[in-house]
């Protein structure tokens, strides 16, 4: 009797070992097949595309405005974009109104103090663009209030 019990126990143990072996072999096979036929594991990914790659011209012009910088389209635009918007916003340029002499002084100042590179022939192109597209407004000693946003004042 005792021997039978021991035998029975041994059989059970062998069965368990076989089950483990089967499990790991199957797992290894699946991984092996996956690594051969689907190395990127795409079957686990959703079949739907989550995003579409959109190709847009980053220097496109809409309504006469260079969208990326807000600069007006005009002769010399890209020279201005490439030399004047690497370090600072185009707004720093367009909020100012200067004549050619003062723009040239400003460029000299940027070269002396702010490490701006030499512009060579581009300097004239840039200054002409600025003077033409962002001319000086004569505002006098005091402007009329403009762009008033009228609203009903409640008590």
């Amino acid at each position: 009797m005792k021997r039978d019990e021991e035998f029975f126990k041994k059989i059970k143990k062998a069965e368990k070992t076989a089950q483990y072996a089967m499990f790991f072999t199957s797992l290894a096979t699946i991984l092996l097949l996956l690594s051969i036929y689907d190395p990127t594991l795409s079957i686990f990914n959703s079949q739907e595309k989550l995003y579409e790659e959109v190709v847009v011209d980053e220097d496109r012009i809409e309504n006469g405005i260079h969208v990326r910088t807000g600069l007006k389209d005009g002769k010399g635009l890209m020279t201005v974009v490439n030399n004047c918007t690497n370090c600072h916003s185009a707004k720093l340029v367009t909020q100012n109104r200067m004549n050619a002499e003062r723009w040239n002084e400003t460029i000299k100042w940027m070269q002396e103090k702010q490490n701006l590179w030499q512009l060579g022939e581009n300097q004239e192109i840039i200054v002409n663009y600025l003077v033409e597209n962002y001319p000086v407004n004569q505002v006098g000693r005091r402007m009329t209030l403009s762009n008033i946003d009228w609203y009903e004042l409640k008590d």
Binding site: V139, R142, D149
Partner: protein
């Protein structure tokens, strides 16, 4: 770490932020900080720089230690003329050998009770944009004196010559010039106290009201080193002026609050103009004041549009 150096210190010294906070007494003041170029957009011919309209001013509550207490602890020599700040900010070009700005003030301003090395704004750590963890606050002077992100204070035996102290930066012609006139650098003088000015902060420009209704206006007024002694408003483009209620400042160099109730005699378009007068009797001009190359110190009267129907 705050480093104290310069020709006119008896010894170089460093303090941790914790040492500054624990070693020196704390003070809290409301201090008016206004950009020297506030209002620049109105100059004609136009001046180079940020085209400020009216908003480059505020008056927060600052908590910190007195700069004079710190300077006394360090020990300064009798030849000291100027203090300068240096900060953690980096130059736009990325060049580590350059500083974007390093300004300061004469010893007399540094020694004022209200001149602080502040670590709190409105009762909390200073927000990053306002100079966390430590900034200089020198109320009533161009706000560029109040350096942000300060890591060094230098005590100089000359007028400080750091970036934005020299040339045309934060300077105006020593003598008046005609609009657009060329001015040599040597004829430019450093701006110290800001001029008298006021802002109508309520209602917003463009208010429409019914006839027989009145408007309660309110706003702030300040006068650099001085106090505002009178605030008036006009609804007839300066032909006649009426006095507003004007409060005393919470402390020296804090802006003052004003208010008035205005009745309009007829229907139509009006402008409400506000005019402050300082304790020396100097008032705001109604037109843009003296032109200068960099467009500083425009303290012309503020006005709002009102329609009565």
């Amino acid at each position: 770490m705050l480093f104290i150096n310069g020709e006119s210190v008896k010894q170089q010294k460093t303090y941790t932020l914790q040492e500054l906070k624990s070693k020196f007494k704390h003070y809290t003041y409301q201090l008016t900080l206004e950009c020297g170029g506030n209002g620049r957009s109105e100059f004609n011919p136009p001046a180079k720089g940020n085209q400020w309209t009216v908003g480059a001013v505020h008056c927060a509550s600052w908590t910190g230690i007195r700069l004079k207490d710190l300077l006394e602890d360090v020990g300064i020599k009798s030849d000291a003329v100027y203090i300068a700040y240096h900060s953690a900010d980096t130059h736009l070009s990325g060049d580590p050998s350059k500083e974007p700005i390093s300004r300061g003030c004469p010893i007399s301003k540094a020694m004022q009770e209200e001149t602080l090395l502040a670590f709190q704004m409105n009762g909390k750590d200073i927000p990053l944009a306002h100079g966390y963890p430590l900034r200089l606050v020198a109320g009533g002077w161009p706000a560029s004196v109040s350096g942000k992100w300060v890591n060094t204070i230098s005590v100089r035996n000359i007028v400080h010559d750091g970036p934005k102290m020299t040339g045309t930066a934060y300077r105006v012609p020593c003598k008046n010039v005609a609009p657009g006139e060329k001015v040599e650098d040597k004829d430019m003088c450093i701006i110290e106290s800001m001029p008298v000015k006021s802002l109508i902060t309520y209602p917003k420009s463009g208010a429409m009201i019914k006839k027989n209704k009145s408007i309660n206006i309110r706003g702030h007024a300040w006068a650099g080193e001085l106090e505002v002694s009178k605030l008036e408003y006009s609804i007839d483009f300066g032909a006649t002026w009426q006095e507003c209620e004007l409060e005393k400042p919470t402390n020296r160099l804090a802006w003052q609050h004003f208010s008035a109730t205005i009745q309009f005699p007829k229907i139509g378009y009006y402008e409400v103009w506000a005019k402050a007068t300082d304790s020396n009797g100097v008032a705001q001009p109604m037109v843009v004041p003296g032109w200068n190359p960099k467009g500083y110190l425009n303290n012309a009267c503020h006005r709002i549009a009102v329609k009565v129907s």
